[in-house]
Point group: C2
Chain length 197, copies 2
């Protein structure tokens, strides 16, 4: 491209974002430049604001703008019940469903022997502290249904044994799911956890 070096750099930066590639980055940047007063300048300013203020909550690991996030500092959410998730994206997904009204704990990943991620690289010691000190009576392990997620869930279940009631998300057929398109593992899990009508 013979266009300006800054524009090329911007495209390269955008192309490295997850879900974007060179082609979509070019389209996005061109769109931004065409509407630069309306889009590019405000987007840049908002990024600057977020870059300056966003940080991890010292208590739960969620992303917010203070030392303690909105959920931890909320006065209307239930105390005593904690939902453990791998990642902030998982927390956001739980929040979108709007059904959980307790507090969260974000591990920041899963245990992984291959990537040599141990309990101390995650927020597991902090989780045990919180369960003891915040009077948590129920812990929901909302970890992903992957091998690493389930390994981590088992490890946490061992650590928290006797401290709180533990549960995990139900596994089965997703709402709107068609059996024909489901993998064998999901069908097996749904069959094993069948409910009497």
């Amino acid at each position: 491209m013979s266009s300006n070096r800054d524009i090329e750099t911007l495209i390269d930066m955008m192309a490295k974002l997850p879900g974007l590639g060179p082609r979509s980055a070019r389209r996005a940047v061109l769109h931004l430049i065409r509407k630069r007063a309306l889009l590019l300048a405000p987007l840049s300013e908002m990024m600057q604001t977020v870059a300056a203020t966003a940080r991890e909550c010292l208590n739960c690991g969620n992303i917010g703008t203070g030392d303690i996030c909105d959920i931890c500092s909320s006065e209307v959410r239930a105390n005593g019940i904690l939902c453990v998730v791998e990642d902030v994206a998982d927390l956001w997904a739980m929040e979108r469903s709007g059904v959980f009204k307790g507090r969260y704990h974000v591990l920041g990943g899963t245990l992984s022997a291959l990537d040599s991620v141990g309990p101390d690289q995650l927020r597991i010691p902090r989780l045990v502290d919180r369960v003891k000190s915040e009077g948590i009576t129920e812990v929901i392990l909302a970890l992903n249904a992957t091998v690493d997620g389930q390994t981590t869930a088992h490890y946490i279940a061992d650590e928290l044994e006797g401290l709180a009631t533990l549960s995990s998300l139900a596994q089965g057929v997703p709402i709107g799911g068609e059996l024909d398109y489901l993998d064998d593992g999901t069908i097996t899990a749904a069959l094993n956890a069948r409910k009497r009508l």
Copy 2:
């Protein structure tokens, strides 16, 4: 989402970019926040720079950082041959192929009766001026092979008749294309323009 309002605003802004939706915007923003020192701040600064400097070339309509773009002001590119494209994205695509060494003219769209886009909303009068004043001897009409693109090509061909040699991009089977996957129109065009070996 109960996370911070600024972060939500940033996600909403990113989600409006072409090629991104709410889900990929969330992933991108989370990725940016995790690496905010390394990615978010530099990206924001580069956007600010581009927002402040990017503008349309007064001569050809390409996007650059001065009143006259790099291609128009280049001293090594051939004079006298002009490639007419609809859009800056098309100019970039031509430049990636690296095979054209002349100058460009970006129309900024196509004639469209439905959207009431006439010749004066595009850079067509400017194109006629350039052909007359810059001593252009060949004009390549590299417009998209759509109805509006071809209508525009015909209109320009009429306007420029007698002023310069006109040509358009060849139509046919794309390199690596399999006949089985091509539409009927492309096969018809390729057959009509068949070349004697």
